[in-house]
């Protein structure tokens, strides 16, 4: 079966020696490519990030930057084909999951690492009740009886603050409002008490007012349960309140990583700067929005040197020749720009 149903094939390029580092979840130099009829798209080109218990890492980037594909690779739900892992490791408690058997990986899903999807309407099975889909995990994974599982599922719905949880247990996904459905989705992902929660654009499909409620709920649950959370988003506004650290992705690479305060105050990559500048501000009402010029790169043909150079206002000849590695600059932050120091130190 050559598709997502069995996508847990081990990466050919990985060396397999998992170095124990005490981290909860680490992505190390991950590489993924999509082999299509039209050619090979290098979607992930050496992504490295980690998340520890009790902290929230926000992964920021435009669509196509590879943030969701990284998450799918972690979960083992990458569509294969066309997606293939060509290198790197994904370590959970120090063990490389890409080397594990399908069964080992399956046991980690839900219990070790769980995921919330963007579009709850299509992510929930339309022909089963929401309650069934939550209780299912208790029955299959915990071997609970039907009635116990139902009781636990109602508890979960209660925890995500769905009013009348008991009554809504037997409703179908299409009978929920968007916000309530996303809450149910959260309840489902938290059912087995995971150590890491990956939230893939959890609020994109929702109204602005509901977005804030859902983000608050997520933050609250994360703190209560001391989970590690990876929050994938393209929305800088969402990130500020919830995230501890932010990793910015561009063309399948991390271009900058910093804590929230540093990143907002002094971005160390022109791309981050561009993103921050493109947030509409009240005090600049009436002026033209400052956008990043140009388009995201074609992943089948990534520009040589720094992939951001064709769009970068600061680009120099060196940017077209040399790919800047992700280097530490100061404590706890890193940037993949030849001129990171200049950026941080300017006023």
């Amino acid at each position: 079966m050559s598709d997502i149903l069995v996508s847990e094939q081990s990466a050919p390029g990985a060396d397999g020696s998992g170095r124990p580092s005490g981290r909860l979840l680490e992505v190390d130099d991950l590489r993924v490519e999509f082999r299509t009829r039209d050619g090979v798209a290098k979607v992930i080109n050496g992504v490295t990030y980690h998340v520890d218990a009790g902290e929230t890492l926000a992964v920021l980037g435009e669509s196509g930057s590879g943030k969701s594909v990284t998450a799918q690779t972690i979960m083992g739900i990458l569509d294969t084909p066309p997606g293939f892992v060509t290198g790197g490791q994904v370590r959970f408690h120090g063990k490389d999951m890409l080397k594990m058997s399908a069964e080992q990986r399956r046991r980690i899903r839900g219990e070790g690492i769980a995921m919330i999807f963007q579009d709850s309407l299509s992510a929930l099975n339309p022909v089963f009740t929401v309650g069934f889909q939550i209780a299912e995990q208790f029955r299959v994974r915990r071997g609970m009886s039907r009635s116990d599982a139902k009781k636990r599922a109602i508890e979960m719905l209660d925890q995500v603050k769905i009013p009348n949880a008991k009554g809504r247990f037997s409703n179908y996904p299409h009978q929920f409002s968007g916000g309530m459905r996303q809450r149910a989705m959260i309840a489902m992902s938290l059912a087995l008490d995971p150590e890491v929660l990956i939230a893939d654009e959890p609020t994109t499909a929702l109204d602005v007012t509901v977005q804030a409620q859902i983000m608050d709920l997520l933050g609250e649950l994360q703190r209560e349960r001391q989970m590690g959370m990876i929050l994938i988003t393209h929305d800088l506004g969402v990130v500020a309140d919830v995230a501890d650290r932010i990793a910015v992705m561009y063309a399948g690479r991390i271009v900058e990583e910093a804590n929230v305060y540093d990143l907002y105050a002094k971005p160390a990559h022109p791309y981050t700067l561009g993103l921050l500048n493109s947030i509409p501000r009240l005090d600049e009402k009436g002026q033209e929005l400052r956008t990043i010029k140009g388009l995201p790169p074609n992943l089948m043909n990534i520009p040589s040197g720094c992939p951001f150079n064709p769009r970068c206002p600061m680009a120099q000849p060196v940017c077209r020749e040399k790919l800047p590695p992700l280097l530490q600059i100061g404590s706890g932050r890193a940037s993949a720009c030849h001129f990171a120091e200049e950026l941080v130190n300017r006023d």
Partner: protein, 308 residues
């Protein structure tokens, strides 16, 4: 739901009347003299003419004839053949045979069609996939009587694997080959619909969610994927039962099964109009009711559909 059911039942009435009237008119009225060539080569005996004319009100207009025929029909009176046999009796003895054959065909359809469809839907473009695609193309393209003859000749006459004809006991093992022949085209359709449906749903977001929940693959495929993909297949199978019974004439003829189709054919050859009309009416009713049931089943299978 109740209102929908009522509306559908009301819609059935004109269709039922229209179809049965059409048949009645074609069989009794079009040839002019209702007795022309109706009683074999020797013509109809006078007393039979009198009895039948009285019974079917053949002196009245076609509308009145039809009305009184329907009235009798609803009281279980299908009329008699010119040999004096109750037509309801003929239907009662042959109907179960056809039903049995159709059910066997349906079971084979479901088993082979669904099996092949699910396997190829999960694993596209492999050897099996191409094999199934080619063989379903053949099954769809070949007329039933060609498939029937070829298989009967190969398996029954040449290789002696099965008995070429079915005995009057209608054992299930004897019915396997005729059942396959009868359901051959439908099997191919079921396989194709199931394959497409599985292939479409396989990459659906909810399947991905089910995997992300850490459910075993068996359960992801067997519960989440299958339950969604089955909706169009079940619809197809349901509609098919009526069609299979109506289409069993040729299969019954080839394998010598004493079913309803054979009775129709016999009645047509011996020109017993009342038998023809009676049997066709029964088949039409089955067909219409099955279609209604399928619509209701559809609602039960897909909670998103609400009938108003």
């Amino acid at each position: 739901m109740g209102r929908y059911l009522l509306r559908r039942l009301l819609q059935l009435v004109p269709v039922f009347i229209g179809t049965t009237f059409l048949i009645y008119w074609l069989v009794w009225s079009v040839p002019g003299d209702p007795f022309a060539g109706k009683c074999g080569d020797r013509g109809c005996p006078e007393n039979f003419r009198a009895v039948m004319t009285a019974k079917y009100h053949l002196d009245d207009s076609i509308w009145l004839q039809y009305a009184s025929y329907m009235k009798n029909l609803f009281q279980g009176d299908f009329g008699i053949t010119f040999g004096g046999r109750e037509i309801s009796d003929i239907i009662l003895t042959s109907y179960p045979n056809t039903l049995k054959l159709a059910v066997v065909a349906l079971a084979i359809e479901a088993a082979i069609g669904l099996g092949a469809g699910v396997l190829t839907g999960l694993r596209r473009n492999g050897f099996l996939d191409n094999l199934v695609l080619v063989s379903t193309l053949f099954l769809i393209a070949l007329p039933v009587f060609v498939i029937g003859f070829v298989l009967q000749w190969l398996l029954g006459v040449n290789w002696h694997i099965v008995h070429p004809t079915v005995s009057s006991e209608m054992r299930i093992t004897e019915l396997l080959l005729p059942g396959f022949v009868l359901g051959s085209a439908s099997t191919a359709y079921v396989a194709r619909v199931a394959r497409t449906s599985i292939a479409e749903n396989r990459r659906a977001d909810y399947v991905r969610t089910a995997i992300a929940k850490g459910l075993p693959m068996r359960r992801v495929v067997g519960v989440h994927l299958l339950r969604n993909s089955l909706i169009p297949v079940v619809t197809l199978l349901g509609t098919d039962l009526g069609a299979l019974m109506g289409g069993a004439i040729i299969t019954e003829g080839i394998f010598g099964i004493n079913g309803i189709g054979r009775q129709v054919l016999r009645a047509i050859v011996t020109k017993e109009s009342a038998t023809v009309v009676g049997i066709v009416v029964v088949l039409v009713v089955v067909y219409l009711v099955m279609n209604l049931l399928v619509d209701l089943l559809y609602a039960a299978l897909d909670p998103r559909i609400r009938y108003e």
